[in-house]
Symmetry: C2
Subunit: 219 residues, 2 copies
DNA sequence: GAAAGTATGTTGAATTTTCAACAAAATGGA
DNA sequence: TCCATTTTGTTGAAAATTCAACATACTTTC
Protein backbone atom coordinates (compact mmCIF):
# COMPACT_ATOMS: atom_id res chain seq x y z
CA UNK A 1 0.00 0.00 0.00
CA UNK A 2 2.93 2.35 0.64
CA UNK A 3 3.32 3.15 -3.05
CA UNK A 4 -0.15 4.66 -3.17
CA UNK A 5 0.32 7.03 -0.24
CA UNK A 6 1.14 9.96 -2.51
CA UNK A 7 -2.16 9.58 -4.38
CA UNK A 8 -4.26 8.80 -1.33
CA UNK A 9 -3.07 11.92 0.47
CA UNK A 10 -4.73 13.96 -2.25
CA UNK A 11 -7.94 11.92 -2.14
CA UNK A 12 -10.86 13.96 -0.79
CA UNK A 13 -11.91 11.02 1.36
CA UNK A 14 -8.73 11.34 3.40
CA UNK A 15 -8.62 15.12 3.67
CA UNK A 16 -7.29 16.13 7.05
CA UNK A 17 -5.86 12.68 7.73
CA UNK A 18 -2.20 12.62 8.72
CA UNK A 19 0.17 10.75 6.43
CA UNK A 20 1.37 8.54 9.28
CA UNK A 21 -2.18 7.49 10.15
CA UNK A 22 -3.12 6.55 6.59
CA UNK A 23 -1.66 3.04 6.44
CA UNK A 24 -3.20 1.95 9.71
CA UNK A 25 -6.48 3.41 8.61
CA UNK A 26 -6.43 1.53 5.32
CA UNK A 27 -5.99 -1.79 7.03
CA UNK A 28 -8.79 -1.02 9.47
CA UNK A 29 -11.02 -0.13 6.52
CA UNK A 30 -10.15 -3.35 4.74
CA UNK A 31 -8.91 -1.43 1.69
CA UNK A 32 -7.82 -3.55 -1.25
CA UNK A 33 -6.35 -2.76 -4.66
CA UNK A 34 -7.27 -4.24 -8.04
CA UNK A 35 -6.05 -3.66 -11.60
CA UNK A 36 -8.17 -3.61 -14.72
CA UNK A 37 -7.55 -3.58 -18.45
CA UNK A 38 -8.87 -0.89 -20.74
CA UNK A 39 -12.57 -1.34 -21.54
CA UNK A 40 -13.15 -3.75 -18.63
CA UNK A 41 -16.48 -3.26 -16.87
CA UNK A 42 -15.51 -2.94 -13.23
CA UNK A 43 -19.06 -2.66 -11.90
CA UNK A 44 -22.08 -3.44 -14.03
CA UNK A 45 -25.36 -1.54 -14.19
CA UNK A 46 -28.21 -3.31 -12.44
CA UNK A 47 -26.09 -4.87 -9.71
CA UNK A 48 -25.67 -3.68 -6.13
CA UNK A 49 -22.55 -1.79 -5.12
CA UNK A 50 -21.16 -2.05 -1.63
CA UNK A 51 -17.74 -0.52 -2.15
CA UNK A 52 -16.43 2.94 -2.82
CA UNK A 53 -13.69 3.16 -5.45
CA UNK A 54 -10.64 5.40 -5.51
CA UNK A 55 -8.76 5.74 -8.78
CA UNK A 56 -5.03 5.28 -8.10
CA UNK A 57 -3.83 5.31 -11.71
CA UNK A 58 -5.39 5.39 -15.16
CA UNK A 59 -9.04 6.44 -15.31
CA UNK A 60 -12.58 5.07 -15.30
CA UNK A 61 -15.83 6.29 -16.80
CA UNK A 62 -19.28 6.32 -15.29
CA UNK A 63 -21.62 5.43 -18.14
CA UNK A 64 -24.82 3.75 -19.19
CA UNK A 65 -25.75 1.90 -22.37
CA UNK A 66 -29.45 1.69 -23.23
CA UNK A 67 -31.21 -1.15 -25.01
CA UNK A 68 -30.53 0.41 -28.42
CA UNK A 69 -26.80 0.50 -27.72
CA UNK A 70 -26.61 4.25 -27.15
CA UNK A 71 -23.91 5.02 -24.65
CA UNK A 72 -24.26 7.94 -22.29
CA UNK A 73 -21.18 9.08 -20.38
CA UNK A 74 -21.75 10.79 -17.06
CA UNK A 75 -18.20 11.58 -16.09
CA UNK A 76 -14.60 10.47 -16.26
CA UNK A 77 -12.85 9.79 -12.94
CA UNK A 78 -9.16 10.58 -12.57
CA UNK A 79 -6.49 9.56 -10.02
CA UNK A 80 -7.22 10.69 -6.42
CA UNK A 81 -10.95 10.90 -7.22
CA UNK A 82 -13.75 8.72 -5.86
CA UNK A 83 -16.56 6.91 -7.61
CA UNK A 84 -19.61 4.99 -6.52
CA UNK A 85 -19.92 6.87 -3.20
CA UNK A 86 -23.56 7.76 -3.73
CA UNK A 87 -24.65 4.26 -4.69
CA UNK A 88 -22.69 2.59 -1.93
CA UNK A 89 -23.87 5.07 0.71
CA UNK A 90 -27.49 4.90 -0.34
CA UNK A 91 -27.31 1.13 -0.40
CA UNK A 92 -28.90 0.81 -3.84
CA UNK A 93 -29.75 -2.68 -5.01
CA UNK A 94 -29.38 -1.88 -8.70
CA UNK A 95 -26.81 0.62 -9.93
CA UNK A 96 -28.21 2.94 -12.60
CA UNK A 97 -24.79 3.12 -14.30
CA UNK A 98 -21.73 1.03 -15.07
CA UNK A 99 -18.13 1.77 -14.13
CA UNK A 100 -15.79 1.04 -17.04
CA UNK A 101 -12.01 1.32 -17.26
CA UNK A 102 -11.26 3.97 -19.90
CA UNK A 103 -7.54 3.17 -19.56
CA UNK A 104 -5.62 0.41 -17.80
CA UNK A 105 -6.10 1.36 -14.17
CA UNK A 106 -5.51 0.57 -10.52
CA UNK A 107 -8.44 0.99 -8.18
CA UNK A 108 -8.62 0.97 -4.41
CA UNK A 109 -11.84 -0.47 -3.04
CA UNK A 110 -13.22 0.22 0.40
CA UNK A 111 -16.36 -1.34 1.71
CA UNK A 112 -18.80 1.43 2.49
CA UNK A 113 -19.97 -0.13 5.76
CA UNK A 114 -16.45 0.09 7.12
CA UNK A 115 -16.55 3.84 6.68
CA UNK A 116 -20.07 4.48 7.90
CA UNK A 117 -20.03 2.27 10.96
CA UNK A 118 -17.56 2.55 13.75
CA UNK A 119 -15.25 -0.45 13.84
CA UNK A 120 -14.59 -2.72 16.81
CA UNK A 121 -11.25 -1.01 17.43
CA UNK A 122 -13.27 2.13 17.97
CA UNK A 123 -10.90 4.20 15.83
CA UNK A 124 -11.60 7.88 16.12
CA UNK A 125 -11.38 8.75 12.46
CA UNK A 126 -14.76 7.53 11.26
CA UNK A 127 -16.37 10.88 11.95
CA UNK A 128 -13.75 12.61 9.85
CA UNK A 129 -14.33 10.16 6.99
CA UNK A 130 -18.09 10.59 7.14
CA UNK A 131 -17.64 14.35 7.06
CA UNK A 132 -15.29 14.05 4.07
CA UNK A 133 -17.68 11.72 2.31
CA UNK A 134 -20.47 14.20 2.78
CA UNK A 135 -18.40 17.04 1.35
CA UNK A 136 -17.54 14.83 -1.61
CA UNK A 137 -21.17 13.92 -2.24
CA UNK A 138 -22.01 17.61 -2.25
CA UNK A 139 -19.26 18.32 -4.78
CA UNK A 140 -20.40 15.44 -6.94
CA UNK A 141 -23.90 16.84 -7.02
CA UNK A 142 -22.46 20.08 -8.36
CA UNK A 143 -20.57 18.12 -10.99
CA UNK A 144 -23.75 16.46 -12.18
CA UNK A 145 -25.47 19.82 -12.30
CA UNK A 146 -22.74 20.98 -14.61
CA UNK A 147 -23.43 18.10 -16.95
CA UNK A 148 -27.15 18.84 -16.78
CA UNK A 149 -26.43 22.45 -17.67
CA UNK A 150 -24.55 21.29 -20.74
CA UNK A 151 -27.01 18.67 -21.96
CA UNK A 152 -30.05 20.83 -21.32
CA UNK A 153 -28.99 23.08 -24.20
CA UNK A 154 -31.04 22.41 -27.30
CA UNK A 155 -28.52 22.24 -30.15
CA UNK A 156 -25.26 20.38 -30.61
CA UNK A 157 -23.48 23.69 -31.05
CA UNK A 158 -24.83 25.12 -27.80
CA UNK A 159 -24.00 21.96 -25.87
CA UNK A 160 -20.47 21.91 -27.23
CA UNK A 161 -19.84 25.59 -26.57
CA UNK A 162 -21.23 25.37 -23.04
CA UNK A 163 -18.95 22.42 -22.35
CA UNK A 164 -15.89 24.14 -23.81
CA UNK A 165 -16.57 27.32 -21.83
CA UNK A 166 -16.75 25.31 -18.62
CA UNK A 167 -13.50 23.54 -19.48
CA UNK A 168 -11.79 26.84 -20.32
CA UNK A 169 -12.92 28.29 -17.02
CA UNK A 170 -11.79 25.21 -15.11
CA UNK A 171 -8.37 25.38 -16.76
CA UNK A 172 -8.10 29.13 -16.40
CA UNK A 173 -7.12 29.38 -20.06
CA UNK A 174 -8.63 29.52 -23.53
CA UNK A 175 -6.36 26.69 -24.55
CA UNK A 176 -6.86 23.30 -22.91
CA UNK A 177 -7.19 19.54 -23.35
CA UNK A 178 -10.44 17.72 -22.82
CA UNK A 179 -10.47 14.18 -21.37
CA UNK A 180 -12.68 12.74 -24.12
CA UNK A 181 -12.10 11.65 -27.70
CA UNK A 182 -14.79 12.54 -30.27
CA UNK A 183 -17.04 9.54 -29.66
CA UNK A 184 -16.77 9.97 -25.90
CA UNK A 185 -17.47 13.69 -26.15
CA UNK A 186 -20.56 12.94 -28.24
CA UNK A 187 -21.69 10.41 -25.63
CA UNK A 188 -21.11 12.94 -22.86
CA UNK A 189 -23.00 15.69 -24.70
CA UNK A 190 -25.71 13.18 -25.73
CA UNK A 191 -25.43 14.01 -29.42
CA UNK A 192 -24.51 12.23 -32.64
CA UNK A 193 -20.78 11.86 -33.23
CA UNK A 194 -20.77 12.76 -36.91
CA UNK A 195 -22.98 15.75 -36.23
CA UNK A 196 -20.55 16.82 -33.51
CA UNK A 197 -17.58 16.54 -35.87
CA UNK A 198 -19.44 18.59 -38.46
CA UNK A 199 -20.24 21.24 -35.87
CA UNK A 200 -16.63 21.46 -34.74
CA UNK A 201 -15.55 21.93 -38.35
CA UNK A 202 -18.09 24.70 -38.80
CA UNK A 203 -16.92 26.48 -35.66
CA UNK A 204 -13.36 26.18 -36.90
CA UNK A 205 -14.30 27.73 -40.25
CA UNK A 206 -16.14 30.53 -38.49
CA UNK A 207 -13.02 31.27 -36.51
CA UNK A 208 -14.66 30.57 -33.16
CA UNK A 209 -12.13 27.94 -32.13
CA UNK A 210 -9.14 25.89 -33.14
CA UNK A 211 -8.96 22.20 -32.37
CA UNK A 212 -6.77 19.24 -32.96
CA UNK A 213 -7.85 15.99 -31.34
CA UNK A 214 -8.36 16.57 -27.63
CA UNK A 215 -6.81 20.05 -27.68
CA UNK A 216 -9.07 23.06 -28.06
CA UNK A 217 -8.41 26.79 -28.27
CA UNK A 218 -11.27 29.26 -27.93
CA UNK A 219 -10.75 32.46 -29.94
CA UNK B 1 -42.78 25.56 15.69
CA UNK B 2 -45.02 22.98 17.35
CA UNK B 3 -47.42 22.88 14.43
CA UNK B 4 -44.69 21.62 12.13
CA UNK B 5 -43.60 18.70 14.29
CA UNK B 6 -45.70 16.21 12.33
CA UNK B 7 -43.97 17.15 9.08
CA UNK B 8 -40.49 17.44 10.54
CA UNK B 9 -40.67 13.98 12.08
CA UNK B 10 -40.90 12.60 8.56
CA UNK B 11 -38.05 14.76 7.27
CA UNK B 12 -34.99 12.67 6.37
CA UNK B 13 -32.76 15.21 8.11
CA UNK B 14 -34.31 14.30 11.46
CA UNK B 15 -34.49 10.56 11.02
CA UNK B 16 -33.80 8.83 14.31
CA UNK B 17 -34.42 12.00 16.31
CA UNK B 18 -36.91 11.66 19.12
CA UNK B 19 -40.04 13.77 18.95
CA UNK B 20 -39.36 15.31 22.33
CA UNK B 21 -35.85 16.39 21.28
CA UNK B 22 -36.95 18.05 18.07
CA UNK B 23 -38.05 21.42 19.40
CA UNK B 24 -34.90 21.94 21.45
CA UNK B 25 -32.86 20.91 18.44
CA UNK B 26 -34.59 23.40 16.17
CA UNK B 27 -33.84 26.31 18.44
CA UNK B 28 -30.21 25.23 18.74
CA UNK B 29 -30.02 25.06 14.94
CA UNK B 30 -31.54 28.50 14.59
CA UNK B 31 -34.35 27.15 12.44
CA UNK B 32 -36.75 29.72 11.06
CA UNK B 33 -39.89 29.53 8.92
CA UNK B 34 -40.88 31.66 5.95
CA UNK B 35 -43.89 31.72 3.62
CA UNK B 36 -43.84 32.40 -0.10
CA UNK B 37 -46.41 33.06 -2.79
CA UNK B 38 -46.72 30.95 -5.91
CA UNK B 39 -44.03 31.79 -8.48
CA UNK B 40 -41.83 33.60 -5.97
CA UNK B 41 -38.11 32.96 -6.46
CA UNK B 42 -36.96 31.88 -3.04
CA UNK B 43 -33.27 31.55 -3.96
CA UNK B 44 -31.88 32.91 -7.20
CA UNK B 45 -29.34 31.30 -9.48
CA UNK B 46 -25.89 32.84 -9.30
CA UNK B 47 -26.09 33.72 -5.62
CA UNK B 48 -24.55 31.84 -2.70
CA UNK B 49 -26.70 29.61 -0.53
CA UNK B 50 -25.92 29.10 3.13
CA UNK B 51 -29.16 27.51 4.29
CA UNK B 52 -30.83 24.18 3.80
CA UNK B 53 -34.54 24.29 3.12
CA UNK B 54 -37.26 21.94 4.30
CA UNK B 55 -40.64 22.13 2.60
CA UNK B 56 -43.36 22.24 5.29
CA UNK B 57 -46.35 22.84 3.02
CA UNK B 58 -46.93 23.51 -0.67
CA UNK B 59 -44.04 22.74 -3.00
CA UNK B 60 -41.01 24.27 -4.67
CA UNK B 61 -39.20 23.57 -7.91
CA UNK B 62 -35.48 23.43 -8.59
CA UNK B 63 -35.04 25.00 -12.01
CA UNK B 64 -32.84 27.05 -14.28
CA UNK B 65 -33.68 29.52 -17.04
CA UNK B 66 -31.06 30.11 -19.70
CA UNK B 67 -30.38 33.34 -21.59
CA UNK B 68 -32.92 32.45 -24.30
CA UNK B 69 -35.64 32.00 -21.69
CA UNK B 70 -35.72 28.21 -21.85
CA UNK B 71 -36.64 26.80 -18.49
CA UNK B 72 -35.23 23.51 -17.33
CA UNK B 73 -36.84 21.85 -14.31
CA UNK B 74 -34.66 19.56 -12.24
CA UNK B 75 -37.14 18.39 -9.67
CA UNK B 76 -40.16 19.29 -7.60
CA UNK B 77 -39.76 19.21 -3.82
CA UNK B 78 -42.68 18.17 -1.62
CA UNK B 79 -43.45 18.52 2.10
CA UNK B 80 -40.94 16.75 4.40
CA UNK B 81 -38.28 16.90 1.68
CA UNK B 82 -35.06 18.94 1.66
CA UNK B 83 -33.57 21.21 -0.94
CA UNK B 84 -30.30 23.07 -1.36
CA UNK B 85 -28.33 20.59 0.81
CA UNK B 86 -25.65 20.05 -1.80
CA UNK B 87 -25.07 23.72 -2.49
CA UNK B 88 -25.09 24.72 1.14
CA UNK B 89 -22.80 21.84 2.17
CA UNK B 90 -20.35 22.41 -0.64
CA UNK B 91 -20.31 26.12 0.14
CA UNK B 92 -20.84 27.18 -3.47
CA UNK B 93 -20.58 30.88 -4.21
CA UNK B 94 -22.97 30.78 -7.17
CA UNK B 95 -25.93 28.43 -7.24
CA UNK B 96 -26.36 26.76 -10.63
CA UNK B 97 -30.15 26.71 -10.17
CA UNK B 98 -33.00 28.72 -8.70
CA UNK B 99 -35.54 27.60 -6.12
CA UNK B 100 -39.04 28.74 -7.06
CA UNK B 101 -42.34 28.29 -5.21
CA UNK B 102 -44.57 26.18 -7.46
CA UNK B 103 -47.43 26.68 -5.00
CA UNK B 104 -47.89 28.92 -1.96
CA UNK B 105 -45.56 27.30 0.54
CA UNK B 106 -44.01 27.35 3.97
CA UNK B 107 -40.30 26.65 4.18
CA UNK B 108 -38.08 25.95 7.15
CA UNK B 109 -34.56 27.29 6.78
CA UNK B 110 -31.57 26.02 8.70
CA UNK B 111 -28.13 27.50 8.34
CA UNK B 112 -25.83 24.77 7.11
CA UNK B 113 -22.97 25.74 9.40
CA UNK B 114 -25.18 25.06 12.40
CA UNK B 115 -25.55 21.47 11.27
CA UNK B 116 -21.98 20.80 10.21
CA UNK B 117 -20.20 22.38 13.15
CA UNK B 118 -20.75 21.43 16.75
CA UNK B 119 -22.44 24.21 18.65
CA UNK B 120 -21.26 25.81 21.88
CA UNK B 121 -23.82 23.80 23.86
CA UNK B 122 -22.00 20.75 22.60
CA UNK B 123 -25.27 19.00 21.76
CA UNK B 124 -24.74 15.40 20.89
CA UNK B 125 -26.99 15.26 17.89
CA UNK B 126 -24.76 16.86 15.28
CA UNK B 127 -23.23 13.54 14.31
CA UNK B 128 -26.67 12.10 13.70
CA UNK B 129 -27.61 15.09 11.54
CA UNK B 130 -24.42 14.86 9.50
CA UNK B 131 -25.06 11.16 8.95
CA UNK B 132 -28.64 11.90 7.88
CA UNK B 133 -27.48 14.66 5.58
CA UNK B 134 -25.03 12.29 3.94
CA UNK B 135 -27.72 9.69 3.36
CA UNK B 136 -29.92 12.35 1.87
CA UNK B 137 -27.19 13.59 -0.46
CA UNK B 138 -26.70 10.02 -1.64
CA UNK B 139 -30.42 9.65 -2.32
CA UNK B 140 -30.50 12.96 -4.16
CA UNK B 141 -27.71 11.80 -6.41
CA UNK B 142 -29.83 8.80 -7.34
CA UNK B 143 -32.73 11.12 -8.06
CA UNK B 144 -30.63 13.18 -10.45
CA UNK B 145 -29.46 10.00 -12.14
CA UNK B 146 -33.07 9.16 -12.74
CA UNK B 147 -33.60 12.46 -14.48
CA UNK B 148 -30.45 11.92 -16.52
CA UNK B 149 -31.74 8.52 -17.55
CA UNK B 150 -34.93 10.15 -18.79
CA UNK B 151 -33.39 13.09 -20.62
CA UNK B 152 -30.62 11.02 -22.20
CA UNK B 153 -33.20 9.32 -24.39
CA UNK B 154 -33.13 10.70 -27.90
CA UNK B 155 -36.78 11.25 -28.82
CA UNK B 156 -39.64 12.98 -27.07
CA UNK B 157 -41.57 9.72 -27.10
CA UNK B 158 -38.76 7.75 -25.44
CA UNK B 159 -38.23 10.44 -22.81
CA UNK B 160 -41.91 10.55 -21.99
CA UNK B 161 -42.31 6.77 -21.82
CA UNK B 162 -39.20 6.40 -19.66
CA UNK B 163 -40.56 9.02 -17.28
CA UNK B 164 -44.02 7.46 -17.13
CA UNK B 165 -42.57 3.98 -16.51
CA UNK B 166 -40.56 5.35 -13.60
CA UNK B 167 -43.64 7.05 -12.19
CA UNK B 168 -45.72 3.89 -12.60
CA UNK B 169 -43.06 1.89 -10.78
CA UNK B 170 -42.79 4.48 -8.01
CA UNK B 171 -46.57 4.44 -7.53
CA UNK B 172 -46.81 0.68 -7.82
CA UNK B 173 -49.65 1.09 -10.31
CA UNK B 174 -50.27 1.72 -14.01
CA UNK B 175 -52.54 4.55 -13.05
CA UNK B 176 -51.06 7.58 -11.33
CA UNK B 177 -50.79 11.37 -11.14
CA UNK B 178 -47.66 13.25 -12.12
CA UNK B 179 -46.64 16.42 -10.27
CA UNK B 180 -46.20 18.49 -13.45
CA UNK B 181 -48.57 20.21 -15.84
CA UNK B 182 -47.76 20.02 -19.58
CA UNK B 183 -45.38 22.96 -19.71
CA UNK B 184 -43.58 21.78 -16.60
CA UNK B 185 -43.36 18.24 -17.89
CA UNK B 186 -41.86 19.56 -21.14
CA UNK B 187 -39.34 21.58 -19.13
CA UNK B 188 -38.47 18.53 -17.04
CA UNK B 189 -38.05 16.31 -20.11
CA UNK B 190 -36.20 19.13 -21.92
CA UNK B 191 -38.49 19.03 -24.95
CA UNK B 192 -40.91 21.34 -26.74
CA UNK B 193 -44.33 21.58 -25.11
CA UNK B 194 -46.38 21.43 -28.29
CA UNK B 195 -44.33 18.47 -29.52
CA UNK B 196 -44.96 16.77 -26.19
CA UNK B 197 -48.71 17.33 -26.45
CA UNK B 198 -48.66 15.93 -29.98
CA UNK B 199 -46.74 12.87 -28.81
CA UNK B 200 -49.18 12.23 -25.96
CA UNK B 201 -52.07 12.41 -28.42
CA UNK B 202 -50.35 9.92 -30.69
CA UNK B 203 -49.73 7.50 -27.83
CA UNK B 204 -53.37 7.83 -26.86
CA UNK B 205 -54.50 7.00 -30.40
CA UNK B 206 -52.16 4.02 -30.50
CA UNK B 207 -53.75 2.74 -27.32
CA UNK B 208 -50.51 2.89 -25.34
CA UNK B 209 -51.93 5.13 -22.64
CA UNK B 210 -54.84 7.17 -21.43
CA UNK B 211 -54.39 10.62 -19.98
CA UNK B 212 -56.33 13.53 -18.72
CA UNK B 213 -54.36 16.45 -17.34
CA UNK B 214 -51.97 15.18 -14.69
CA UNK B 215 -53.48 11.69 -14.55
CA UNK B 216 -51.96 8.94 -16.69
CA UNK B 217 -52.87 5.29 -17.23
CA UNK B 218 -50.43 2.95 -18.98
CA UNK B 219 -52.18 0.19 -20.95
C1' DG C 1 -72.87 32.75 -15.39
C1' DA C 2 -70.03 35.56 -18.41
C1' DA C 3 -65.51 37.18 -19.28
C1' DA C 4 -60.77 36.89 -18.86
C1' DG C 5 -57.06 34.26 -18.31
C1' DT C 6 -54.57 29.93 -18.39
C1' DA C 7 -53.58 25.32 -20.02
C1' DT C 8 -53.68 21.99 -23.59
C1' DG C 9 -54.04 20.35 -28.28
C1' DT C 10 -53.21 20.87 -33.39
C1' DT C 11 -50.85 22.04 -37.48
C1' DG C 12 -47.24 23.07 -41.02
C1' DA C 13 -42.85 25.11 -42.14
C1' DA C 14 -38.09 25.71 -40.92
C1' DT C 15 -34.35 23.96 -38.48
C1' DT C 16 -31.64 20.40 -36.50
C1' DT C 17 -30.49 15.83 -35.54
C1' DT C 18 -29.80 11.23 -36.60
C1' DC C 19 -28.28 7.59 -39.41
C1' DA C 20 -25.56 5.18 -42.75
C1' DA C 21 -21.93 5.00 -45.68
C1' DC C 22 -17.67 6.25 -46.91
C1' DA C 23 -13.14 9.04 -47.10
C1' DA C 24 -9.18 10.58 -44.83
C1' DA C 25 -6.07 10.82 -41.14
C1' DA C 26 -3.77 8.98 -37.22
C1' DT C 27 -2.23 5.20 -34.37
C1' DG C 28 -0.18 0.89 -32.94
C1' DG C 29 2.05 -3.39 -33.84
C1' DA C 30 4.65 -6.69 -36.34
C1' DT D 1 8.23 0.75 -42.69
C1' DC D 2 4.04 -1.22 -43.81
C1' DC D 3 -0.39 -3.08 -42.65
C1' DA D 4 -4.37 -3.31 -39.93
C1' DT D 5 -7.10 -0.89 -36.92
C1' DT D 6 -9.07 2.99 -34.90
C1' DT D 7 -10.41 7.64 -34.94
C1' DT D 8 -12.08 11.65 -37.13
C1' DG D 9 -14.25 14.17 -40.85
C1' DT D 10 -17.74 14.60 -44.69
C1' DT D 11 -21.99 14.13 -46.95
C1' DG D 12 -26.95 13.63 -48.11
C1' DA D 13 -31.37 11.69 -47.06
C1' DA D 14 -34.73 10.56 -43.58
C1' DA D 15 -36.59 11.50 -39.19
C1' DA D 16 -37.51 14.37 -35.30
C1' DT D 17 -37.62 18.69 -33.00
C1' DT D 18 -38.56 23.40 -32.62
C1' DC D 19 -41.20 27.38 -33.40
C1' DA D 20 -45.12 30.22 -34.22
C1' DA D 21 -49.75 30.69 -34.66
C1' DC D 22 -54.08 29.45 -33.59
C1' DA D 23 -58.15 26.45 -31.81
C1' DT D 24 -60.19 24.44 -27.98
C1' DA D 25 -60.95 23.32 -23.27
C1' DC D 26 -60.71 24.33 -18.67
C1' DT D 27 -60.38 27.69 -14.38
C1' DT D 28 -60.89 31.56 -11.90
C1' DT D 29 -62.83 35.72 -10.66
C1' DC D 30 -66.00 39.18 -10.44
Amino acid sequence: MEKYIEILEKCPLFEGVKREDLLRMLSCLGARVASFDKRYTIFAEGRPLRAIGIVLSGSVQVERVDIYGNRSILTKVHPTELFGEAFACAGVEAMPVSIVASEPCEIMLINCDHILHTCSNNCGFHQQLIYNLMKDLARKTLQIHQKLEVTSKKTTRDKLMEYLMIMAKKNGSNSFDIPYDRQELADYLEVDRSGLSAEISKLRQEGVLESRKKRFVLL
